[in-house]
Symmetry: C2
Subunit: 122 residues, 2 copies
DNA sequence: CAGCATCCTGCGTGATACTG
DNA sequence: CAGTATCACGCAGGATGCTG
């Protein structure tokens, strides 16, 4: 019984598949402090973006849906007008936060530091 | 002075850029046990692949080059015929291993376990 | 406000053939 | 053995306009 290996056999490959997309990791990270609405996530993602670049709703929407389907986040629709939708981390999603923290930590030490030592003035 | 933010401001984005590509993470992981040759990496990567799929040398080559250029791995060419080239982790690359370990660990618990509990027989 | 529908484009990935 | 060159393709990602 060796046929169901697709995406499961290698945790790293599975991980990569799971968080494929520019924003997924950052969405989960942004959600670690509590529930956020669609628009909040959107604007939150804009910070830390090169500049001028907007996020296509299609893209964000799809990533949110993907994260929901794989059980990392939970979508709560208040069913009112104007629409109000909140996204929050599931238990599984919360368990993922430390991993991102490790990534951020490493990134700070070996990526940001290398390239931005001189921008400390900002 | 706020112009050099591209890729540096957000560690997560920088990380994603750095390990973009299907094999980079797994290459680094494979190299954690010591230096490996091109062909060894190639065949090592084949395990854990769906099946039948080969890796285009062009792809592997590019990922190895990218990893070399960003300082995660080091390329050692023995300059002999037939060619012998070894790749090994740099200090920076080694510092990255724990991060991948965290990813693998999380993956085992929340991805592999979910989908492959019944394949334990393999 | 929180999306969906449509079109378009670049790049990552794969397959194949060739070389020092 | 360890790659490079070339061709082809699918899909992520952006832009724009519309809707309940």
């Amino acid at each position: 019984m060796v046929r169901a290996r697709a995406g499961g056999a290698c945790p790293v490959a599975a991980f990569q598949k799971l968080i494929s997309g520019k924003y997924k990791l950052r969405i989960v990270w942004d959600l670690k402090d509590g529930p956020r609405r669609y628009g909040e996530i959107r604007t939150g993602l804009l910070r830390g973006l090169d500049g001028g670049g907007e996020i296509a709703p299609r893209v964000l929407s799809r990533e949110l849906k993907a994260l929901t389907e794989c059980g990392l986040i939970d979508r709560k629709d208040y069913g009112v007008v104007p629409p109000k939708v909140e996204y929050r981390l599931t238990r599984k999603g919360k368990s993922f936060v430390p991993v991102i923290a490790a990534i951020r930590d490493w990134g700070h030490r070996h990526l940001v530091a290398d390239a931005e030592t001189m921008i400390a003035a900002e």
